[in-house]
Amino acid sequence: MSTSYIPPEFRWTNDNDACCRCKRCIKQCGWGALRWENRVVADQHKCVGCHRCEVFCPESCITVLPNPTYYRPNANWTLRHRKNVYRQAESGGVLLTGMGADQDFPVLFDSLFLDACQVTNPSIDPLREPMELRTYLGRKPEQVEVEVAADGRVSLKTQLAPNYQLAFPIIFSPMSYGSISLTAQKSLAMAAEELGILWNTGEGGLHEQVKPYAHCAIVQCASGRFGVNIEYLNSGAAVEIKIGQGAKPGIGGHLPGEKVTADVSTTRMIPIGSDAISPAPQHDIYSIEDLRQLIFALKEAVDYRKPVGVKIAAVHNVAAIASGIVRAGADYIYLDGVRGGTGAAPSVIRDNLGIPIEIAIAAVDQRLREEGIRNQASIIAAGSIRSSADMAKAIALGADVVAVGTAALLSLGCTLCQKCYTGRCSWGITTQDPELTRRIDPVWGAERVANLVQAWAAELEEMLGAMGVNAVESLRGSRERLRAVGLDDQTLAILGVKPAGVGA
């Protein structure tokens, strides 16, 4: 092999005086970057900066730093551009990456500020007073009719569409077994059950070990139909048609044959070693009418007993598309913004296609309200919800629920090294190597993920209390409780938010 022109990205160093020679770091490295030559020696080119070795070093004598190699600065030809050109000159390939966009995209959440009560309106102390975070996912009626019996008992006359009761307005985003390990997926599934929220199978079927948690799973049906049969559809809490993903709008999924192990083949119901190709074009869906046909094929299959939703990437025409999706009969729309995560995507797609989730939520919520159909579908928003504050702002802009993927994986140890697509994750998350996957004990993992969600829920209660509302429902679409700093007039108009300094 000819020499690569790309310098190592990281500089791995070890304090040899402090090193206890336990060799744990060598074992922990999933990348084969470390070896023993009477001391630990690093192949700097192989280090991805995932910090697994550093965390597990008993003497804390390992340091992983950015490689300080100095290139002449060029604001136009950034080092990123130069390195990508070298890589493509060497490989001739489409460059793959993992996780969400890492570039300095504008994050509108950071320009939005929530309101709080002072003097003229009372705040609520969430420590003493009940706070309602319960959220229902699914279609709501236009109005409800009640019947009053002769004995005065009141009963609901309107037949309600199936709704799923969530304890918190948070769910886990779709991550298939295959893209993540079974131990990672089981951690999410167990956490979802404990929390009273939902996890999502992605397009990877249901493994035997997570079937006990299917009752709190959204089961996905996408273009490849992997693992989809009538038992699968009936076992879930809701069914989701996956059209697109924020990190790679307009392009599909592709699990390479070498990752289709015996176990993965069982859940996807395909032969071992066969490529699992799930292309973006769903050739049975070329129109809203076609989408309607599939939505109702699924509703018929589950006998109208579960919500059927549609997941799309946030793109330029998202509001009109969302309107069509609701009219096609979807019980929820899942919007995934441009900063959303992925297990593998071409970096050119991840970093250039789609629009931010903040804009998409506001545009879709507004459009559905104007058309009088907002009640017909819940809105799930995703695409880099990094904190409870992002969640609160997403809800204030019009979302019912947020979905988190990256944050959940971070709680399992992920450090955003962006190498998910290699299948060598040292943290045992995006790998199928049994030596690596057993690093996650699902009981431990579920506890950490549940801790995160409970912490965000508690923070949401604090924010709601400060705003003087005692139910998250009162915040939904309440853009009056948001103010913006530093946004242009047109963006403000699209978000439906006033600039800070303007009163009620």
Partner: protein, 260 residues
């Protein structure tokens, strides 16, 4: 058939539903309820475009006879029953079907057998575009789609497993057996065409070979079932000539990507 004959035939065939004017939701609910109550023989008369017949239905011994034209997604997610249609079929029949048999005595539409994992679909006449798209196989489940006439473009697109057959019966001179972009993206399964290799479009990703009696062994039971379903001479069908198409690679896109 006279009305009296029809009635007698229906009574032998079990429960009869007159589908005229019935919304698909009501029709399918009745079918589901009857099957749940243990009925195994159903006849649906005057079917005019009602979608989703047999959708998600289970039961190897369930047999539904359909007179008229069923709508889209016939036998979608179906797992076991036999549906026989005396009429044409529409789009997406056998969508993600897991098991069962669907027999269509006329022509059928686009995207038949989408993601189909098991069972058989027999169409006596022609079929549209993208037949057998994403068809797969799993362990002992090997689905088959047999088209009596001709098919349109993208036949066997993204095919990952199973068997696709085009027989070109009643083949009119000048009409092509299969359309353009034959089996693009194929990475598994096999296609049998009743033709000689020189009659077929060239595709660099396909291995193309003429098939003799030996190569037809696995296909023979299904071809016999097809012949029986449509009262055709099985021996005549089996004389061929047949050409077998298989993918050259199970990983057609492996070289396209590089680490960033």
């Amino acid at each position: 058939m006279t009305t009296t004959d029809q009635l007698e035939a229906d009574q032998q065939a079990g429960v009869v539903i007159d589908a005229a004017g019935l919304h698909y939701r009501d029709l399918n609910r009745r079918v589901r309820e009857l099957v749940a109550a243990g009925e195994t023989a159903l006849t649906l008369r005057n079917v005019r475009g009602q979608r989703y017949i047999g959708d998600g239905l289970k039961g190897k011994d369930v047999r539904i006879t359909i007179h008229g034209v069923p709508g889209g997604d016939l036998a979608a997610f179906m797992d076991g029953p036999t549906l026989e249609v005396f009429g044409n079929g529409q789009d997406a029949a056998c969508n993600t079907m897991n098991d069962g048999v669907v027999i269509i005595h006329g022509n059928a539409g686009d995207a038949l057998g989408y993601g189909m994992r098991g069972g058989s679909l027999f169409v006596r006449g022609d079929a549209g575009y993208r037949v057998g798209i994403h068809m797969k196989a799993y362990k002992t489940q090997i689905p088959a789609v047999v088209i009596g006439g001709c098919v349109g473009d993208f036949f066997g697109e993204y095919m990952a497993g199973g068997t696709l057959v085009v027989l070109g019966l009643d083949h009119k001179p000048g009409k092509r057996l299969v359309g353009d972009y034959l089996a693009s993206g194929i990475h598994g399964g096999e296609i049998f065409l009743r033709a000689t290799p020189d009659m077929l479009p060239k595709a660099p990703y396909l291995s193309v070979e003429p098939v003799g009696a030996d190569g037809l062994k696995a296909l023979t039971p299904r071809l016999r079932a097809f012949a029986e379903a449509f009262s055709l001479d099985a021996e005549e069908l089996l004389t061929g000539p047949f050409t077998r198409l298989t993918p050259i690679s199970h990983r057609p896109f492996a070289a396209k990507y590089a680490p960033a």
